[in-house]
Amino acid sequence: MTETAQPARPLQRLDHVVIRFAGDSGDGMQLTGDRFTSASALFGNDLATLPDFPAEIRAPAGTVHGVSAFQVHISDHDIHTPGDAANVLVAMNPAALRSELHLVEPGGTILVNVDTFDERNLKKAGYSSNPLEDGTLAGYTVYEVPMTSMTVEAVADLGVKPRDADRSKNFFALGLLSWMYSRPLEPTRRWVEARFGRNEKVLAANQAALQAGWNFGETAELFEHRFEVAPATLEPGTYTSVTGNTALAWGLVAASQLADMPLFLGSYPITPASDILHELSKHKRFGVRTFQAEDEIAGIGAALGAAYGGHLGVTTTSGPGLSLKAETLGLAVSLELPLLVVDIQRGGPSTGLPTKTEAADLLQALYGRHGEAPLPVVAAYSPSHCFFAAIEAARIALKYRTPVILLSDGYLANGAEPWRLPDVADLPDIRTTFATEPNHLAEDGTAEFWPYKRDPDTLARDWAIPGTPGLMHRIGGIEKQDGRGDISYEPANHERMVHLRAAKIAGIADDIPPVTVDGDDDADLLVLGWGSTWGSISAAVERVRARGRRIARAHLVHLSPFPANLGEVLGRYRKVLVPEMNLGQLTRLVRAEFLVDAEVVSKVQGVPFTAGELERRFLAALDELEA
């Protein structure tokens, strides 16, 4: 460094970088991360994100409990995870540094808002001495940036009160990071204008703070170089950045269009599913009816009522809500009506970790009902796949007249990735038909409608909706006589109906794609996954193969029924590992179903697997096999 600052620093190219923004819940870290992500997406990077925030809206300021973080991984090549360890941590206060430091790679870069490192905040964070001075950060590259005071100064002329000025400091951080990583400011400026346009002072303050952050990077002599992460070479097309919940909501709108049936969402707010309700509430132009019910039970009840009336009925929830809906799901199984139940899984049991991810509702989805009540279960594997999974779940529900559970999780729900938009014309036709004529001739020649007369191929029952003349009929939760649908307590009939309902669901296996295997044909080790572990497994498998080791992987979208070839595929390998964010639910299922030696790789820490963790487990398993 020389005495005279260079207006432009040398540019260092990186193939990827993982940045973690952390601060108080009120510091706007989710927004900052989200904007950085958006600018990176528009710049053409591949990316993956992991929002990580507490359940409390505003836990006591300055405490470790209140720390909210957002990790983003940007890359010039195809990536699958939000990154293992952060290369860069932006810590807006001591608490953020304390709670997040262990997530930074050794020798990583740390930017702190040094203004907050006073005695009071250090104490609140549980530090007895200042980590900036006591050697805690030895080995890291630390930049002490007075973000608060620089922001206050930047907005001083705008007539903004100091307290309000303080609230713009996240934009200062965003401006600085944008400079450091050569992100264009323009998209952020436009966004700030659209978001705060109505409040002139706040708009001006945020814009000023953003620019001040950029200028600070440019003029302060702290930084030796800027970095650049070049655009990734992705498949040509139009891209957008989506979170899983947005993609899922759009998938439901798409399903409604593709089925030519109005969409009805009955839902009760629950983290991390509520954003689907929020998103769908906007889309009235698509004829979407959203109903915020009095409770989870009413949410699914209303959805079932709408489905009975011929709408595409959907309810959205998370684990505890799914438990409450169990009885109504039993009714839907008995009524044989199409219904979608979306479960955005979170850490459980009970309230558990409401804002953290887990995938421990698989067995609840499959078996969490009274009686023999089989139903199809579909699981999304990436944020953008939530769109297609919603359409697939709707297709099965409508074709087979059955409730379907669609599983996603907190990680997919809030995580974002670039998505190459599909051509709407390529999406499947999932229309179904309602009965309009009698379907049975009684012995005396009278034409009748039998609500439980089935299609011989799919075993789906004939479905007449209210308003159809001449086909009036009664259905309910009491066991029905096969075909005719009247109440029947006859023992043999009940057994026949139990078997028919099971056979109908089992038969769907012939109507879903076979499971495909990626990787080495002659591998001994198969990694079987489901749900959001897809990204981490993909990255880990790539690393293992890059080391020249042989490994194969398969990922399940359909958990009930399983693809028809799954047993055959599993039987080909000496060893099957199943990474799961639970204690081994799929593992248990495949062991029971196929008598294979499947072993779980379990993680239940409220955060996804890192690629590194899985890589180590896969390598260890390979070593064992080769020993």
């Binding site: 009235k284 009095e294 009975y308 309910g476």
Partner: protein, 337 residues
């Protein structure tokens, strides 16, 4: 619907054998509904009866309409979805005191406050019948039942007070011994746009026989039933010698007309927007052992929920045109590769 082909009672009765206990009050309610519907000019295919669990909940099986016998307490929630999705249908909910006020109490009050266009008939027999005789949320304190051999300790709900408390827009009471009164009350309930709530005193001759006999027996009615008529002073008794006044505290009280003079009597106003009057009338009788009002307590206009939902959709489509999926997918920031 006056141009719809006329129907008869036969068109509304299903081919199912009615399986209530012989002598059950439900039979007369079923008859009243089946006799009324042909008079309303409505069609069986556009009519849906929904129910939960309990003796009353078997009602849909006996109607030749669309019918859904669901699960305990949830019928108002299911009906809410159906009525929102299909405003073209006549949606009836048949429930009981246990189904509607115990396990399903939450759904009932929310359907009422939202003013969903459904007609709710709550058969109140003050007992659990289908589970063979436990006390219900409308059973009187001290009730000796299988689950309360030492007498029930639970203070009962007054179904009308609950409905009025939830600001239901239509609240009425009738009883199973008077077909004409039932038909008239159900007719009014059906005409009402929004949620209509009708409590039907219904005798369970097996587990709670005669619960309402002190007021509904033919020879008791004139002195024990107070027939509410909109715009008329509230009087009853064989010679109209008794009446109802509102006292200084706003409580409704039964008086002898001779004591207060006819001009002092309360004039019934079912259309009063503020629910206090209807509530006061619902509190007049502490139970079916003293003079009890029947008829329409409250019938006010408020926007119907499903229609409001549909109006929001229509307004969005009028303003911006129907939704376009490809456009939706491009509604965020996009970039080309």
């Amino acid at each position: 619907m006056s141009d719809a082909p006329t129907t008869t009672r036969k068109d509304w009765a299903s081919d199912q054998e009615v399986r209530w206990c012989p002598g059950c009050g439900d039979y007369s309610i079923l008859a009243a509904v089946q006799l009324l519907l042909p008079e309303l000019g409505v069609r069986p295919e556009n009519t849906v009866f929904l129910s939960g669990i309990g003796c009353a909940a078997r009602f849909p099986y006996y109607m030749n309409t669309y019918g859904l016998h669901s699960i305990h307490g949830r019928a108002p929630a299911i009906a809410t979805g159906l009525a929102m999705a299909r405003p073209d249908l006549d949606v009836w909910v048949v429930t009981g005191d246990g189904d509607g006020l115990s396990i399903g109490g939450n759904h009932l009050i929310h359907a009422l406050r939202r003013n969903v266009n459904i007609t709710i008939l709550l058969f109140n027999n003050q007992i659990y019948g289908l589970t063979k005789g436990q006390f219900s949320p409308t059973s009187e304190i001290g009730k000796v039942t299988k689950s309360t051999p030492f007498g029930s300790l639970d203070a009962p709900f007054n179904p009308l007070s609950v409905a009025i408390g939830a600001e239901a827009t239509f609240v009425a009471r009738t009883h199973d011994m008077d077909r004409k009164h039932m038909m008239e009350t159900f007719r009014r309930a059906h005409e009402h746009r929004g949620a209509a709530f009708v409590e039907v005193y219904q005798n369970c001759n097996v587990f709670n026989d005669g619960a309402f006999g002190a007021i509904t027996a033919k020879d008791k009615r004139s002195e024990m039933l107070i027939d509410l008529r909109h715009g008329e002073p509230i009087r009853f008794g064989p010679e109209g010698e008794r009446g109802v006044v509102l006292d200084a505290q706003g409580h409704a009280r039964v008086v002898d007309v001779a004591d207060v003079g006819a001009d002092a009597l309360l004039v019934h106003d079912e259309q009063r927007a503020e629910p206090s009057l209807a509530f006061a009338l619902s509190r007049l009788s502490r139970g079916p052992f003293e003079p009890t009002p029947i008829g329409v307590f409250r019938a006010v206009e408020r926007p119907e929920y499903g229609a409001s939902v549909s109006a929001q959709l229509a307004a969005a489509q009028d303003q911006h045109g129907p939704g376009d999926l490809a456009e939706l997918l491009r509604s965020g920031a996009t970039w080309e590769v």
